[in-house]
């Protein structure tokens, strides 16, 4: 009987699926709920700090890449290529395990022993550099989209080169590239998950620690996934507000933007 055979074949599969005992309470019972909240708080802090440092560095490096001054252009190009072509995890390992050993001994000792939460700040360094190289590429694209007349007009009204970039070009370019910057902001929050590999107690780390204590991996990972989805939605919402606030009058905004 073919029908009976189908059931017989399916049986082991169904039994094993059922053999996983769901216990969703591990997400909120003591002390696991507390861990999760601490993890979320660390994720948010890490993401926000890295985002602002990376934005600042990225705008500077992106400007370097379009200046008429050649050494700055070369510096900008080397900077972007180095940070973009090495995986983030390798960079974090370099900053965490290798870089402190180049520093003078007292500073190295201070980093490992003296500074509380040193792994958090090491990830801030690594993630900010990495993200800034990606932001720089967007800023550069934005600057290249600005007509050269803007630049010349600013210079002819008596602005210095620095003032031209500071007051004319950069404000314009940043506002043009807000949509790709939104995507980049999401990437920062997603990339904070890599901090778990060097022992930062963020959301993913906490979810895996709950798994280690309770063996309820699927529940813990689901909880972490929901956290990242909520963060994603919040960032999209906030950046949408920023985009609306900063829209350049007279330029076409994205559909549904107004």
């Amino acid at each position: 009987m073919p029908a009976a055979r189908t059931i017989a074949v399916r049986q082991p599969g169904r039994v094993t699926v059922l053999s996983y005992n769901f216990n969703w309470s591990v997400i909120w019972t003591e002390p696991y709920g507390q861990w999760m909240l601490q993890g979320i708080w660390t994720t948010i802090r890490l993401g926000v700090i890295c985002w602002f440092i990376a934005l600042f560095l990225g705008i500077i490096i992106g400007t370097f890449r379009v200046t008429p001054f050649r050494p700055l252009r070369i510096f900008g190009a080397v900077y972007t290529e180095i940070f973009r072509d090495i995986p983030l995890l390798v960079q974090l390992f370099f900053w965490y395990f290798a870089a402190p050993s180049i520093l003078p001994e007292p500073i190295e000792m201070w980093l490992y022993r003296g500074l509380p939460n040193s792994e958090f700040w090491i990830v801030v360094v690594g993630l900010s550099f990495y993200t800034s190289s990606r932001i720089a590429e967007h800023i550069r694209a934005g600057m290249q989209a600005i007509p050269e007349d803007q630049y010349n007009a600013a210079l002819s009204t008596g602005f210095t080169h620095f003032q031209t970039y500071r007051y004319i070009i950069i404000p314009f370019a940043v506002r043009l590239v807000i949509p790709p910057l939104t995507a980049e902001c999401l990437t920062v929050f997603k990339n904070t998950a890599l901090a778990m590999t060097v022992g930062v107690l963020e959301t993913t780390f906490m979810s895996q620690q709950i798994e280690a204590y309770t063996f309820q991996g699927i529940e813990a990972t689901t909880a972490a996934s929901l956290v990242y989805m909520v963060i994603t939605l919040t960032v999209v919402f906030l950046m949408g507000l920023v985009e609306k606030r900063l829209a350049v009058p007279g330029l076409i905004t994205r559909r549904g933007g107004q």
């Binding site: 082991p12 599969g13 094993t16 699926v17 996983y20 290529e81 180095i82 973009r84 072509d85 090495i86 995986p87 983030l88 995890l89 390798v90 960079q91 390992f93 370099f94 395990f97 290798a98 870089a99 050993s101 180049i102 999401l186 997603k190 990339n191 904070t192 998950a193 890599l194 778990m196 590999t197 993913t204 979810s207 895996q208 798994e211 991996g217 699927i218 990972t221 972490a224 996934s225 990242y228 989805m229 994603t232 939605l233």
Partner: protein, 219 residues
């Protein structure tokens, strides 16, 4: 720790190269599998049938809102439950990467298909092609050609992403280096070496992609 000791690289070279081979294998599976699944999902994202469009869109948005590490953990826990027995680190890493990268490839494929003018599709239909043949012989081949630079860029990203298989203990390039490091205590040399190897490979690939892009614009 003053003075570099590059001897540690030479002494462990064959072990490190095994790790690099695993990285390449994983990248190859992820890129091929991710692209194939991505083409299907990308087509589904353009479907006028709601039952196809909504699940595909939900899948892409879900994957793009999660960190890759989490997806790797997901499949690390799910694969044994689905298959009923442990399948090994490499297998579950492959599944995770194919599923995750498919979402990103799908968006590239969707943009590529949208870049083909609708006249092509109408011409194909009017010569008597059905949907499958139109896609198979007219749209996808042209779209793929337009997508080559973006696909290459995404492939570089996938290649870099494979380093995250570290977290489930897969002995890829980075994990091999960290195993050697645990024994030899030579972090600086080892991680600089790993970074340099990744840099050379990814830099070459991204330059190729840039050159292709310029060629395509000229053509």
């Amino acid at each position: 720790m003053l003075g570099f000791d590059w001897q540690v690289i030479a002494a462990n070279l064959s072990f490190l190269m095994q790790g690099l081979a695993t990285t390449f294998k994983l990248a190859l599976v992820s890129i091929t599998g991710g692209l194939l699944l991505g083409i299907l999902v990308g087509m589904a994202r353009l479907s006028s049938i709601k039952a196809i469009y909504y699940p595909a869109t939900a899948f892409v948005n879900l994957m793009r809102s999660l960190p890759l590490i989490l997806v790797i953990f997901w499949f690390y826990f799910l694969v044994p439950v689905i298959f009923g027995r442990p399948m090994g680190d490499f297998f579950s890493a492959c599944v995770a990467f194919v599923v995750f990268e498919a979402a990103y490839f799908a968006e590239i494929v969707r943009a590529g298909i949208q870049s083909i003018s609708s006249g092509q599709v109408q011409a194909a239909y009017s010569t008597g092609f059905n949907y499958r043949d139109t896609m198979r012989y007219i749209v996808i081949p042209q779209a793929l050609r337009n997508m080559v630079p973006s696909l290459l860029t995404q492939s570089v990203v996938v290649f870099q992403d494979t380093s995250l298989a570290f977290v489930i203990g897969l002995k890829e390039f980075l994990r091999s280096a960290s195993i050697v490091d645990a024994r030899e205590m030579r972090s600086l040399e080892l991680y600089a070496f790993v970074g340099a190897v990744y840099f050379v490979i990814c830099f070459t690939m991204s330059q190729m992609s840039k050159r292709l892009e310029i060629q395509r614009k000229l053509a």
